[in-house]
Symmetry: C2
Subunit: 269 residues, 2 copies
């Protein structure tokens, strides 16, 4: 992907709405790359004041008082809050952009003249710095000019910027739920099983890192190992017995084992 | 853990049985650290000849012809083959060691005088080099002297060597199935979902790496994100609709979502 720079003769004035995990990472990085934030709004006012200070900006208590002359309004709020926040922001000329994986672009209020989406395919948690430069950023807009603006903006964050549309973005998000949220849930189950036997989860850290590196350097299909991969029904039966007091984990064991046995051995349980 | 060295006045003579993934990695590393392999046996004879050459050793066609005077017999064969290979090896004075996560130590033949286990908690695939030095290695033996020998041997491979017993080793292996084999199965489902929409799995690589790094630097419980973590029932309903033609993936989606909703929101589906 080509690396765009914002033209030096243009100062983009942005408003950031939201002070959560994504707002912190994206806002902080865009500020560091020269985007001027003329206002920060957040439900939690103390937090908005702190964050505005970090961005050399000012906190704005009321959405109605957000400057009307910004070039860009970044809505980094939860999916559930998007429609309401967008409606309260009301009529603006600037480009209004949300960052959700699931919400259609046109869920933004109809009195925004120009709308778009900037979706970074990454997981963000409090107190964890994330390097964005390898993270794919998917962008949408309604006009080629706005798409070009978002392309330049996203290129300040990452070297991988990809125009997309609602349907593809939803599919990306769903796949990410499996590869990230559900994977982390399995780490959690694994940690719980270990800890119930007085064992520390950090014993699995090298395995977890290698599993991720292996699947991303060969394909997951080639990387697959374990009892179900080799149809070791004796080991599977032993594991199910060991999980008798962990019904949730046992159910997960059963359904993923069924998936693997069908895929690699055409065995249907 | 203290780092042992094999005493310089002692040359441990080892026999390696097996030419698979674990045999390749452990045999290769032990050879590089000075262990003398006086014989290599494998079902696949051509492969055993190649591998023996790499270890400056010789291939032995028949288990009955394996030297009787070795200090150590390393059985790096599949769980299912262990009992038979061990029986065919027969009476030896040296320490006979298997590397399985699930098989009890005493599944080795009773005509071995000294038995043990050396279990590296890692995933091994063909054509992938693995650094062992951070991998926990769990050891078992029947006498303190043999445990000390295995401790010195394992310390040639890793800085983390931990004496254990059958029950704990089984629990470690079960947890590893969740954190590695099942995690990889989720990567695989995720790749399948993407590819069915013409999207490349490598778009998820940064997310997968960050998810693994995050869970191993904070706890998986703190690292959890996603629709189920925030009880976003609308997003969950949309995802289930999108998975209507993927019944296996839909089942997995349901059971892991149920686990997360119960854990974080006390919601029982």
């Amino acid at each position: 992907m080509q690396k765009y720079q914002l033209p030096s003769d243009r100062f983009m004035r942005a408003v950031l709405i939201g002070t959560g995990r994504i707002a912190q990472v994206l806002g902080g990085t865009l500020h560091a790359r020269g985007i001027k934030f003329i206002g920060v709004h957040g439900r939690n006012k103390a937090r908005a004041v702190d964050f505005a200070l970090r961005l050399e900006s000012q906190a704005i208590d009321d959405l109605k008082s957000v400057p009307r002359y910004a070039d860009l309004y970044l809505l980094a709020v939860s999916d559930d809050a998007l429609a309401e926040v967008s409606a309260q922001l009301g009529a603006v000329d600037g480009l209004v952009v949300h960052m959700s994986g699931t919400v259609p672009a046109d869920a933004l209020a109809s009195d925004h003249k120009r709308i778009g989406v900037l979706y970074p395919l990454q997981t963000f948690s409090e107190h964890r710095a994330v390097q964005l430069n390898e993270v794919p950023i998917f962008i949408q807009a309604q006009s080629p000019d706005d798409l070009a603006i978002l392309h330049r903006l996203a290129s300040l964050l990452s070297q991988t910027v990809i125009p997309t549309h609602d349907e593809i973005r939803k599919q990306l998000h769903l796949s990410a739920v499996f590869a990230c949220n559900f994977v982390n849930a399995l780490y959690d189950m694994s940690a719980g099983l270990l800890e119930s036997h007085g064992l520390n989860f950090n014993l699995l850290h090298p395995l977890i890192r290698e599993t991720a590196l292996k699947a991303t350097s060969m394909s997951p299909t080639l990387a697959q190992t374990g009892p179900a991969r080799r149809a070791d029904m004796k080991a599977i039966a032993k594991h199910l017995t060991m999980l008798e007091n962990n019904p949730r984990e046992k159910t997960v064991y059963n359904v993923i084992t069924a998936y693997l046995l069908e895929k690699y051995h055409n065995i249907t349980l």
